[in-house]
Structures are given as C-alpha cells and as structure tokens.
Symmetry: C2
Subunit: 113 residues, 2 copies
DNA sequence: CCGTATCCTCCCAGATACTG
DNA sequence: CAGTATCTGGGAGGATACGG
C-alpha cells in the first residue's frame, strides 16, 4: 500500500485527477479511446446520450491536455479519428479501475440519489 | 487486460462510477477515509478549501450510498467520526489509481485549462 | 460526416450567518 | 465541535439550427 505522507494542503492528487477526467463524459470517452481509435460518429453511437456539441467540447478539452489525438483525413466525406495519446494511456489503470468497479457494483442498478 | 465486449449502450460503467465518486470533493474525502477514520473538523483541516456546508453535503451523499459510516459519540463537546464502510473499501483500487496518477502527473502543476 | 454558433436552464457550490 | 439555514452567481451541460 503506497501510503505516502503527502499532506494534501492544496487539494489532493485524487481531486486533481478528478478535475481532469471528471465531469459527465470524459471518463467514458477515454475508456472508449483506450480500447480503440474511434471516429466521431462512432463515439456518438457508443454514447447515445451525449449531444454533438458536448462531445466536441469534451474532445477538445482532452486534446488540449494532450490526453488524446485528433487526426483528420482529407477525404470526401470527411473522416476524423480520435485516439488515445501516449500520455493519455498512462491513465489506463485508473480508467480500468473505475470501469471494473462500475461493472461489479453498478450494472443494471439505478444510481441516481 | 480484461476487455469485455460490453456494449455500453446506456452509459458505460466508467460514467456510472464517476457519477458516484466524481464531483469536486467525493474522491478526496474517500481517499482520506480509506487512510483512517476521521473527525469532521479533521477533514476540514485536510481539505482547507471545502466549506462546512459542502463537506456536510458530500458526507451525507456518501453515507446515503453506504460508502461511508457516521458515528456520533454523545459527549460534550460532540464528537463525530466518519469511516469508510466495507462497501466503500471496495473502491480502494480505483481511488488509489486516481491518487497515484495525480501524484505522478499533476503534483505542483496548475491544472486549470 | 464532422463539426460551429447561439441561446438557455438548472443546480452546484461558495459566502455568510446562525445553533444545539 | 459539528453542524443548519438562506441567498446568490456562474458555469456545466442541453436544445436547436446552421455550415464546410
């Protein structure tokens, strides 16, 4: 158990990490991109409840933090692929842990309130 | 690598878990309580930026999900201790992963935008 | 197909004051 | 010490329409 005596005065690392992958969608997006490189509309299909606007916004924010990479292919019709970056892949253990816990404890449950 | 073919139609487990430990404070609170049972004001000291009102609110929500336990001792002055529950302890791997990543990648960084 | 541009709503979270 | 009670604003997130 790696329990350091980190004093946690100005926000603890857990809080900091949640600042980045928290929010309603970022964790799920990262999870999908860790599995495989995915196109924009493919992501929409995987997450039917997100709006186009929100998906774009979240992707831009993740890209700004260098957690994911965007590749646009100059084709007609346009094709844009999103993939996890080297840096983003360091989040795999965390995302996997969240996913695993959710699967075990929350599947088919209603988790509101 | 435990990659199931979970289709993730109605929100994926990552999203579900973040629904529970996400938000600005819950992860940090759980982290502290996993380390040790802690009194109310002790938590405030560990997280100087949280307001009394928010701390109470977050604690109540975690308690409602049976992730933590509240014990009030009928003393003067009053003493209330919060501890992680058996169920809450199942979150340890996830919280540890978040903490570890934050330590490695975010310490001393400004992580706004 | 892959986005922007607006507009809007709700509620999260902070500030502050008070209490058993 | 360990909480409520109000008031308030700002921003996350949604709906909808349009564009290359």
């Amino acid at each position: 158990m790696a329990h350091t005596d980190y004093h946690c005065n100005r926000g603890c690392p857990v809080e900091a990490t949640l600042e980045i992958i928290g929010g309603k969608w970022k964790g799920a997006i990262l999870y999908h991109l860790i599995q495989k490189t995915t196109r924009f509309n493919e992501l929409r299909r995987l997450m039917p409840d997100i709006t186009q606007r929100m998906l774009t916004k979240q992707l831009r924010e993740l890209e700004a933090r260098n957690l994911i990479e965007r590749t646009a292919y100059p084709e007609v019709p346009p094709r844009v692929e999103y993939s996890i970056s080297e840096y983003g892949r360091t989040l795999t253990p965390a995302i996997e842990a969240l996913h695993s816990w959710g699967l075990t404890h929350l599947e088919k449950n209603n988790f509101n309130q």
